[in-house]
């Protein structure tokens, strides 16, 4: 039986220490609960799958030199792609204005179900895809078919829409037609009718930062060739990505020197590009996790320090208790129970504080509201930590010999 009454009345004898430990735990909980919440949100966000064969994809930023006509750009891009596809290490390749999770800027298409609808049913982001795009990304076609070569029109990213076939992701198809089959249906973009001929597995859109339509990609059949240059998305044969990353620039320059492929970041692996795009989020995760760990260590240190002091102060009382028949385990239980009571008080105050901090953050930083389970996790963590911190001083207290009672009293 743990003696709660004596513990509580003993606490009133050193209010300051009790208050300081409780306050420390409360503050730590308020910060840690909110930090874990932000971290878990960001981790979920930055580890969302791109849907493509990430490990084997390399992206080339190719810029043409001089003022090309659209026809010249088409011819040169076609030549580049033919060369790339013929390389022994290349599985497939195509040209586009962007690629999944490329950066802050992207085209956004508003999708309507009829030509005279007032507001769009969904937003989406287009890829200008040819018949090699699906194979390049390694994205599975779930229903329907790929584009046929004769459906592809020559163009640039600014010639937006022409009537014709499109392929949409599963997510977009579900948004547009819920459970009905999307195949064969017609949707409208800028008043132009587009027929869905294929539904593919989900693939992330070009822009980062969007959450609501992150997987609503749409493929528009185009031989894209911008007179200024494009991105070449190249899929390596398994294990050859790094070799390609190092050799692609030379291969392209060997074909034509009238281009700029930056020697440093002109050719990059998809993994590197994606982590750059999400670097703000991963940075915050690192920072907040570090702070949480430091905070918990600091709190633990503080509890250890104060508990050692209390044990030292009460050696005589402990000796008396031992002399009167208390076992070592009773002393251990006493100190741990005391710590638990203080920590529990701290976590109750800390829960209120955590919600208050969350409210302030919601107001100033547009954060979401804190679910109670993060407070529960944080509280559990701190209670365990408190017990661990008190354990070593408590064991030291349990070792106090009954002799102490007489020794100190005599002194």
């Amino acid at each position: 039986m743990i003696p709660f009454r004596p513990i509580l009345s003993a606490m009133t004898r050193h209010k300051a220490g009790v208050f300081l430990i409780a306050m420390q735990i409360a503050l730590t909980l308020a910060i840690v609960a909110n930090a874990i919440f932000v971290v878990s949100q960001r981790v979920a966000y930055l580890s969302r799958p791109s849907g493509i064969d990430e490990a084997n994809i390399v992206v080339v930023d190719n810029q043409w030199v001089g003022a090309l006509t659209p026809f010249e750009a088409q011819a040169r891009t076609a030549a580049d792609l033919a060369m790339l596809r013929s390389l022994p290490d290349v599985a497939d390749a195509y040209a586009d204005y962007s690629y999944p999770a490329a950066g802050p800027i992207a085209s956004v298409w508003a999708i309507y179900l009829s030509a005279d609808q007032a507001s769009p049913t969904s937003f989406s982001e287009p890829y200008f895809a040819d018949d090699h795009t699906l194979a390049t990304y390694g994205v599975r076609l779930i229903a329907g078919r790929n584009f046929a070569p004769d459906e592809l029109s020559a163009g640039t990213a600014s010639d937006k829409t022409a009537a014709g076939p499109v392929i949409v992701t599963q997510d977009l198809a579900t948004k547009l037609f819920s459970n009905e089959a999307a195949l064969g249906k017609v949707v409208y973009v800028s008043g132009v009718p587009l027929t869905i001929v294929g539904v593919m597995a989900n693939m992330e859109v070009p822009s980062v930062g969007t959450r609501s339509f992150a997987y609503r990609s749409i493929l528009s059949p185009t031989h894209l060739a911008d007179p200024d240059g494009d991105q070449y998305i190249v899929r390596a044969k398994p294990g050859q990505a790094e070799h390609l990353r190092q050799s692609l620039r030379a291969s392209l320059l060997a074909l034509s020197r009238m281009r700029i492929v930056d020697p440093v970041d002109g050719v990059q692996s998809f993994g590197a590009l994606r982590s750059k795009a999400y670097s703000r989020d991963s940075g915050l995760v690192i920072l907040l996790s570090t702070v949480c760990i430091i905070l918990m260590l600091a709190t633990t240190g503080g509890i250890v320090g104060i508990t050692i002091f209390w044990v030292g102060e009460r050696r005589r009382q402990i000796g008396v208790r031992r002399a009167l028949g208390a076992r070592r385990v009773d002393i251990l239980a006493y100190i741990l129970a005391e710590n638990f009571l203080i920590a529990a008080g701290g976590t109750i105050a800390g829960s209120a504080l955590a919600f208050a901090v969350n409210l302030a953050l919601m107001h100033y930083l547009e954060m979401a509201s804190l679910p109670a389970r993060y407070i529960a996790i944080g509280s559990a963590l701190l209670l365990i930590l408190g017990q661990c911190a008190a354990l070593s001083p408590a064991r030291r207290a349990a070792r106090v010999s009954p002799i102490e009672a007489t020794r100190l009293a005599a002194g």
Binding site: A16, G17, L20, I21, M23, Q24, L27, T28, A30, I31, A35, V38, Q63, W64, V65, G66, A67, L68, P104, I105, V108, W109, A110, P120, F123, S158, D159, K160, T161, S190, G191, V192, D228, G229, I260, D262, S279, R280, G283, L284, I286, L287, L288, V291, I294, L295, A298, T299, G301, G302, G305, I306, I308, F309, W310, G312, E313, L361, Y364, L365
Partner: protein, 437 residues
């Protein structure tokens, strides 16, 4: 006396090295965390042009009305070409400049050298004067060149070094995206951050721009923007000619106004312009215009990354916890010295003397924490590149100011934390302690 206290403090601290080390570490970590994140926040929210910012303004016109996708009534950050052309033509404010981002393939006359991709802006001649851009050689192009779209270019320091080996290249020729331009000026290193003047939400911490060509020249050659273009979702246009006529916004427009009266006059003028557009049938909503000054503009554009603010707040929380922790540890340590204090009091030391002694001891701990904090801050600032975007991390430096803030903060924290424990110590009764000891 002070030296005696220093000696006493030193002796007492070395008696309990683990607790002492813990307190020093706590203070150092708390201080380093808050000072590092403060340095980041200070760097990213700095005024990019402190001497000019009060006179630089961004006008905005609501050309979408209530039919926009977002629910607020804020106009687009950029302007349409037609509004820029109209405002420029009327010379409503002077100086003024239109700006949009471009990327041009730059080919040097010297065929030994590699062509490079040059990022920069299409601007008006006033740009350089308005933003106090420093020239190494030459200067801006002329007003005439500005009006007719002459083939002149101002190049950046780095491009000049690459193509002309850093020599005075004014008057020399350079080929940009297949057209020949004459260099009219070469910039000194110039890169005010955050990059306020165009699309601060995309490229607030970009490396220095390397080419500036006349706005009119860029329009004549149909040089596409590499910034954002915001169009209505039912926009059906394709290509350049439609874009020029459209309600798509993609050009930043900056004006310089000398004083408050001029701002009021300009706002009235802009409202009248929007009403005129409404009368002509272009808008069917009341005039909705904004005139932000540079600092308001950066705030409105959220140029300061939210992450930097979150981390500063979290670091302050860390400092607070460390302070509370220090209070607890100091209390424990001073109470442990209760017998010593009793003896000193009994031997005639006043309560004030006890105060002085233990504040000195705390000060020593604070100073040690501060010194370690400075070291940790140095490491922290070096480690920023793992946490913030490399471009943001690069602009934060551990200067003398920041490091002295660290020491002062540590000293402050230790003294504040010591206040209560020292007060308790000074109240220890001499007789009572002697009896026990």
């Amino acid at each position: 006396m002070f030296f005696y206290y220093l000696q006493l403090g030193g002796r007492s601290l070395s008696r309990n090295p683990v607790v002492t080390l813990l307190i020093v570490l706590l203070i150092a970590v708390g201080v380093a965390g808050s000072v590092t994140t403060f340095a980041v926040l200070r760097a990213v929210s700095a005024d990019p042009l402190p001497e000019r910012s009060a006179r630089l303004f961004v006008p905005q016109i609501d050309n979408r009305g209530p039919n926009r996708v977002t629910t607020d009534r804020e106009p687009d950050p950029d302007m349409t070409y037609r509004d820029v052309a109209a405002l420029r033509g009327r010379r409503a404010a002077s100086p003024q400049t239109a700006i949009y981002s471009i990327t041009l393939s730059a080919v040097p006359a010297d065929l030994e050298l590699q062509p490079v991709s040059a990022k920069g802006y299409a601007v008006n001649a006033d740009f350089f004067r308005m933003f106090a851009v420093p020239f190494e050689y030459g200067g801006a192009w002329s007003r005439e060149s500005d009006d007719v779209g002459g083939s002149e270019v101002v190049i950046g320091h780095d491009l000049n070094r690459k193509f002309f080996r850093g020599s005075n290249s004014v008057g020399k020729e350079i080929s940009l995206a297949g057209h020949t331009y004459r260099v009219s000026g070469v910039l000194n290193e110039w890169n005010p951050l955050p990059r306020f003047y165009a699309a601060p939400w995309v490229q607030a911490y970009a490396p220095p721009a390397q080419v500036f060509i006349p706005f009119q020249r860029a329009i004549d050659l149909k040089v596409p923007t590499t910034g954002g273009t915001l169009c209505a979702f039912n926009y059906t246009g394709t290509g350049w000619d439609d874009l020029i006529q459209s309600e798509c916004s993609w050009i930043a427009f900056w004006i310089e106004l000398p004083d408050h009266d001029a701002v009021v006059r300009f706002r009235t003028y802009l409202t009248a312009y929007a009403e005129e557009q409404r009368a002509s049938g272009r808008f069917d909503w009341p005039a909705n215009v904004r005139v932000y000054d540079l600092r308001q503009w950066l705030k409105y554009m959220h140029a300061v990354p939210a992450e930097t603010r979150i981390s500063f707040i979290v670091a302050l929380g860390l400092l607070l916890v460390c302070t509370v922790n220090t209070v607890g540890l100091l209390l424990a340590r001073f109470m442990r010295h209760a017998p010593d204090i009793g003896v000193r009091r009994a031997l005639g030391a006043s309560a004030a003397a006890i105060y002085a002694q233990y504040l000195t001891e705390s000060g020593i701990v604070g100073l040690a924490g501060g010194l370690l904090g400075v070291l940790l801050t140095e490491f922290g600032i070096r480690g920023l590149r793992f946490v913030f975007e490399a471009r943001v991390a690069r602009i934060v430096h551990p200067d003398a100011g920041i490091l002295s803030v660290a020491i002062l903060l540590a000293l402050g924290v230790s003294l504040v934390a010591a206040a209560y424990p020292v007060w308790r110590a000074s109240r220890i009764q001499p007789a009572w302690q002697l009896k026990v000891g």
